[in-house]
């Protein structure tokens, strides 16, 4: 195998590992801009991965499975939103419990039930896929991956250009002031969590019926936390968050590929790198006021 070929292979695997992260990170980004720090993005991805496989197996269609995954993410987002932004249970507590519940539930069901394998098709773009080095990695993917081209700009437009997004950002920066101007703070946060749930669900479902074609126990294996690290690494800006996902995806691909290429590199360091980068980013960014000022703080009318 030539150097060019093996580089292309690593790139392709990196892109494949990036796509689910990128979907979920889009959603998490929007939620965090509204001040909703949800660690249940892991639960959203994992539950969506499971239901997508289960639904695909039941209906025989991977596309229907994908849609079921999106719906499942939405449901988890709805539950999280109502528990933490209506009933005002601490958002980290809700996240931990949902993560534990979904992990237990999916692990239980995958050991008791059998599912047929279904996978969505590959869509290769003529001509473009023949570009050396980056052609195969970028232009010969499972078709839902191309939804990113639509969803990333849409998320950006929603947050930065729409009225709803302006209100979201107000809610994330100064909920008291937003409340005074008549914005329903907790309602906006719940809506943000729905968007987050749908996109994280799409990411999880893509992982299951897109890349792998089946579900295995704890399939997302902490990818949800990686998504949170990516948003922090991206300093709460969408472009940099996507870049973070790509960096994390590529470093994961390197970790998998290096032993085969005969390079010995510290695997633990590569696994730990995203979290280390996120921590360093937090150390740098918090004093620059990059993070939404009210991130992770519950809003209750009348309290400060």
């Amino acid at each position: 195998m030539s150097v060019l070929d093996s580089t292309s292979t690593i790139l392709a695997s990196g892109v494949r590992l990036t796509v689910p992260l990128a979907f979920a990170a889009c959603g998490e980004y929007l939620a965090e801009r509204a001040g909703a720090m949800n660690i249940s993005v892991e639960a959203m991805m994992l539950s969506a991965a499971f239901t997508s496989v289960a639904t695909a197996s039941a209906t025989g269609s991977a596309t229907v499975g994908l849609m079921a995954g999106v719906l499942t993410g939405l449901v988890v987002g709805f539950v999280h939103g109502n528990l933490s932004h209506r009933a005002q249970i601490n958002t980290f507590v809700v996240g931990l419990v949902l993560n534990a519940l979904v992990l237990g539930l999916t692990s239980y069901l995958i050991t008791t039930e059998q599912f047929a394998s279904h996978q969505v098709g590959v869509l290769s773009i003529p001509l473009l896929e023949d570009i050396p080095l980056i052609g195969k990695p970028l232009f010969s993917e499972r078709w839902p991956a191309y939804l990113l081209i639509l969803l990333v700009p849409l998320t950006w437009w929603l947050v930065e250009r729409s009225r709803w997004g302006l209100e979201l950002r107000a809610v994330g920066e100064n909920p008291q002031a937003a409340d005074v101007t008549g914005i329903k703070v907790n309602a906006r946060r719940r809506q943000a969590l729905l968007w987050c749930g749908a996109l994280a669900g799409l990411g999880g479902a893509y992982l299951a019926v897109g890349e792998v074609g089946s579900f295995n126990q704890n399939m997302t294996a902490g990818r949800g936390y990686l998504v949170i690290a990516a948003v922090i690494f991206g300093a709460w800006r969408l472009g940099r968050t996507m870049l973070g996902c790509l960096v994390f995806g590529l470093s994961d691909a390197m970790r998998l590929a290096l032993p085969a290429l005969g390079v010995t590199l510290n695997a633990q360091l590569l696994v730990a790198a995203p979290y280390l980068l996120a921590l360093l980013a937090m150390l740098l960014f918090t004093t620059q006021h990059r993070e939404p000022a009210a991130l992770g703080r519950p809003f209750e009318r009348g309290s400060t």
């Binding site: 528990l83 507590v93 237990g104 979290y275 150390l283 918090t286 004093t287």
Partner: protein
């Protein structure tokens, strides 16, 4: 929440009196909790039935594995100690309003520090155990203190930093036990391959157990955990220090005005909760039935489960004793359950539902009855402390 009330002595007195007798709210909370436990049981039973297993047989299996005989009791009590320690630590920093969710990592780092000391220091008998446990506690405390420093100097959100540090801890321990010059086991024969684990600690570095199989075996760790729990409960509820801690938790601004060093106290409680988690890691390492080796799987979700215990106990140390026992029953029973063909993941579902059943009622009662904050207030709360303490809070 009770911002206005603490600064107003009359209101405070009225409230304290109201606190002393259980009111309608408390009965509603208790009733709702019981109802939700029922729902949790019902959902679990439904799940078992739908997947073709028998709820009663599963319950019997959990019983057999945990409480039916002395072996079960031994395992359950062995499981209780580290869970209780982690939970008590979580209670301490939650009382100060700091939310540590990185116990899983702190347990592992405790194990790492304990194994490092235990394998490098040559020391006679019981002294070594003590030194290993102290090292473990210090290790866990140091790991949590890093998050406290990040909060103090850069204002980094504690739950997020402790969570991220957990993943670093897992990789650090994996690195330590798979790198020969750090802690990986040494191999005897030329052809042997070293596993990703440390050497076994010397035999005298094991915690003493009282009684031997097949009779009931009580372990020193349990006594240690119980003593620590009672000590923390007394400190929090009776001492001046505990009063300060609770004041910081209820209202950092008032505490600041009263002369409490809020940031220092918050950091200290975070380090303390790390110390308890680290000590739990030390117990797992020196437990009389374990392999006494450091492995990446040493913590085995004890950190996460201990945190859930604290949530169910609603952050009261004494309540954590029975709750950690129940969780230990579920852990011990879950292992036996998988032998009967029902996946032990069932107990994870039960645990998560239990937490929901205990966490939700107080806030739901508040929601239906209007919030505590909705009672008449003296004046709109005005920010009197500069934004800096706001970040520290």
């Amino acid at each position: 929440m009770s911002a206005a009330s603490l600064s107003d002595p009359d209101d405070l007195g009225r409230r304290l009196l109201a606190r002393l007798r259980p009111g309608r709210r408390d009965w509603m909370t208790a009733g709702l909790t019981l109802a939700l436990i029922g729902v949790a049981g019902g959902v679990s039973a439904l799940l078992l039935t739908l997947t073709g297993a028998s709820p009663s047989a599963s319950l019997a299996a959990i019983w057999t594995g945990s409480l039916a005989n002395t072996t079960g009791w031994t395992t359950t009590l062995l499981n209780t100690a580290p869970l209780l320690l982690v939970a008590v630590g979580a209670c301490v920093c939650a009382s100060a309003g700091t939310f540590n969710i990185g116990q899983e990592g702190q347990v592992l780092i405790g194990g790492l520090a304990g194994a490092w000391v235990g394998l490098r220091l040559a020391m006679p008998g019981p002294m070594l155990v003590a030194v290993v446990l102290v090292a473990a506690a210090v290790g866990g405390a140091a790991w949590a203190a890093l998050s406290a420093l990040m909060l103090r100097f850069r204002g980094v959100n504690v739950p997020v930093s402790t969570l991220l540090m957990t993943f670093l801890a897992i990789q650090l321990v994996t690195f330590a036990v798979s790198t020969p010059w750090v802690l990986q086991e040494s191999v005897q024969g030329a052809g042997d391959i070293a596993d990703a684990q440390s050497n076994a600690l010397p035999a005298h570095a094991q915690l003493a157990g009282f009684g031997h199989y097949p009779s009931l075996q009580l372990n020193t760790g349990l006594f240690l955990a119980l003593v620590a729990t009672v000590a923390v409960a007394l400190l929090l509820s009776r001492s001046r220090w505990g009063f300060k801690v609770r004041m910081v938790g209820l209202n950092p601004r008032t505490a600041q005005h009263a002369g409490v060093r809020v940031a220092a106290l918050g950091g200290l409680t975070l380090a303390l909760s790390g110390a308890f988690a680290g000590l739990a890691g030390g117990l797992l390492l020196t437990s009389p039935v374990s392999t006494n080796r450091l492995q990446a799987g040493l913590s085995d979700n004890v950190g996460w489960d201990g945190l859930l215990v604290a949530l169910v106990a609603r952050n009261r140390p004494m309540a954590a004793i029975p709750v950690s026992f129940v969780f230990a029953v579920l852990r011990a029973g879950g292992d036996f359950l998988s032998a009967t063909g029902v996946p032990s993941y069932l107990v994870d579902i039960v645990k998560a539902l239990l937490v929901l059943a205990f966490v939700a009622p107080p806030v739901l009662v508040d929601l239906f009855h209007g919030r505590r904050g909705a009672t008449p207030r003296a004046a709109p709360a005005v920010s009197v402390v500069p934004a800096k303490t706001e970040a520290a809070a």
